[in-house]
Symmetry: C2
């Protein structure tokens, strides 16, 4: 199989670029002095190779060719080979990764993708709408009431705030059936198909328990933060849960891994059917280019994997809907949380305004 091509940006003078590139190749593969390796097979088949060195804005970029076999076809070891040790070197940034065709077969990729989410939500030819139940600490009955209001307004997806986890004041086992029931009831009244995406969190055992509870009450979507539960646990959750996974970026921005690569490509490879990211001009500082880069990485034809639905979010408002639609197009899901809840007593009206703005 061809090699994995990983591009790193290194903040260092170009004069040392060759030495740094070779050191990085050793660090990310054999992790020992190359001169001390006798085994020719290790040198040719295991050691990463420097494929290119090119100047970039005063610093330089290095392309390493990493042997796919070294990743064991598994998420934690893939992350390790790409950015394990060099995550500890602040001058190194992981910019992009190209996978050889065939490599993706070891990973699930999106099981539903954009088309699958559209089918579940019964939405064709337009962007989807999404909102969040907030804040954590709100009694379960009130969360169910909020969910009902959003569903009556015709919002396509109602997700838990990602901070609503499995706290004593709203345990998953109590909260999720109650909220799902309220949404089912509203759907029956309106003939709509609003979907609920509860937050899955915790260790492998907790995730398994949550999967069973969710199945039992007919949950059709799941919200998970891959970097919080762990990349390989995210992959395994897909097996347990026969519903689309919405990836949340919490804990994912700390890394010096380019957001289009992590939130777009890698989450897609690992099975995210939708990916939430902080839109430009909100509470976060991602640039417009970064955000469009995430959307592109999520949707573009890539290794035959299904497309992942981009979900711009983070301090968005109904007023920005036209601009967001112009930027992301119809194969996206617009997420407005606090911007709706701020309407307080007029929540239903504000939610309908959001729905209308996206539909028209």
């Amino acid at each position: 199989m061809e090699r994995i091509l990983a591009t790193y940006r290194i903040t260092a003078g170009e004069s040392e670029s060759r030495v740094r590139a070779e050191a990085l190749a050793a660090e990310q593969s054999v992790e020992m002095p190359v001169a001390a390796i006798d085994d020719p097979r290790v040198l040719t088949e295991v050691l990463a190779q420097v494929r290119a060195i090119r100047p970039h804005a005063g610093d330089f970029e290095v392309v390493l060719a990493i042997a796919p076999e070294t990743t064991g076809g598994e998420a934690s070891q893939l992350a390790n080979m790409l950015f394990g040790n060099c995550s500890l070197q602040p001058e190194v940034e992981l910019v992009d990764v190209e996978l050889p065709d065939g490599y993706q077969k070891a990973f699930p990729g999106p099981r539903f993708g954009i088309d699958g989410i559209r089918r579940l939500a019964g939405v064709e030819g337009r962007a989807l709408t999404c909102t969040a139940l907030k804040p954590q600490g709100t009694p379960v009955a009130r969360l169910a009431e909020l969910a009902r209001t959003f569903a009556l307004a015709g919002i396509d997806v109602v997700k838990d705030d990602h901070g609503i986890a499995n706290q004593a004041y709203g345990p998953f086992a109590e909260r999720v059936p109650a909220v799902q029931k309220a949404i089912h009831q509203a759907n029956r009244e309106t003939g709509g198909r609003t979907l609920y995406a509860p937050t899955f969190s915790g260790g492998p055992r907790a995730l398994l328990d949550q999967a069973h509870i969710a199945k039992d009450c007919g949950v059709q979507l799941a919200l998970v933060a891959p970097m919080l539960v762990g990349l390989p646990a995210f992959v395994e959750l897909q097996v347990e849960l026969d519903v689309p996974l919405v990836a949340h970026p919490a804990f994912a921005g700390a890394g010096r891994i380019a957001p289009p690569l992590l939130l777009g490509k890698l989450f897609r490879l690992l099975g995210a059917d939708a990916t939430i990211f902080p839109n430009h001009g909100g509470r976060f500082s991602y640039s417009k280019a970064t955000c469009l880069g995430i959307a592109e990485a999520a949707r573009k034809p890539w290794l035959g994997l299904r497309a992942t639905l981009p979900v711009p979010a983070g301090g968005m408002t109904v007023e920005r809907v036209p601009e967001m639609l112009a930027g992301y197009g119809k194969d996206s899901m617009l997420l407005i949380g606090g911007g709706l809840l701020s309407a307080k007593g007029k929540l239903l009206e504000k939610s309908r305004e959001f729905v209308t703005a996206v539909r028209s």
Copy 2:
């Protein structure tokens, strides 16, 4: 219960410090405009509070008081509350965390700690020695031979290189029993007690399988990278594996979380009995102060938790042993990997040199 106190450093002008601090408090708890919250219980019991704002080197530090209940007493949600969304804000760094007494009871903490590792290794009154099997891709028989040599030399702990995972060219199920057998055999010959720490990696199912294999062949130590397998999976692994856990920092350096906090305190809280970190003056750029800070966080009396063994590593050599011992003292484990393997044909002699340097 008292609140969790989390200190953040924010790269922004002091004039905006109050506004930024309040915004951070909302972001890391209710994640919505505070003005839109009606529930007085949420405002008093769930919303994080700004406890202090103080200037720091041109920028400022903010201390947030986070309600312990919001973390659900669980690793992924603790990480979420501390650094979930604000990981996406590049101007925010997580500097330190103080936990209220009693909070730690939801977490395992080290089950063995320094004393437990000492008992297993039969080492009192001196620092421990550690080396690594490298490089990945080396045939299993050769890895077993290397392990035997290290054990004959009297090195206390032989760990897998963390890049030796579960690849096709050396599957865990084949490699670990073979290496453990070689070490057992060498121990019988020398009367020594060298311990083997294989790398555990992959998803929850794979970790469980590996735990069974390791138990069956008498493995007494485990190497795990918490940020690769996921923090909550790391916690659960402790339950499966009744042996000390050696935490590896791979994928952990990318975050803007202070290393003494993440590799020292948090890994300790989650159950690390030993913690590997890149020593200053090696291949990584951590300062001496950072490294001593990690060692201090790992060992100092804290909430009644057992002490975690600090393991400085990363390009160390036998020549540096006296200086490392002077810096870290006897409650540490010195890890030299490539520095021994570079001796090639004289590996046994070089390893003995290392052992002698630490013992004398």
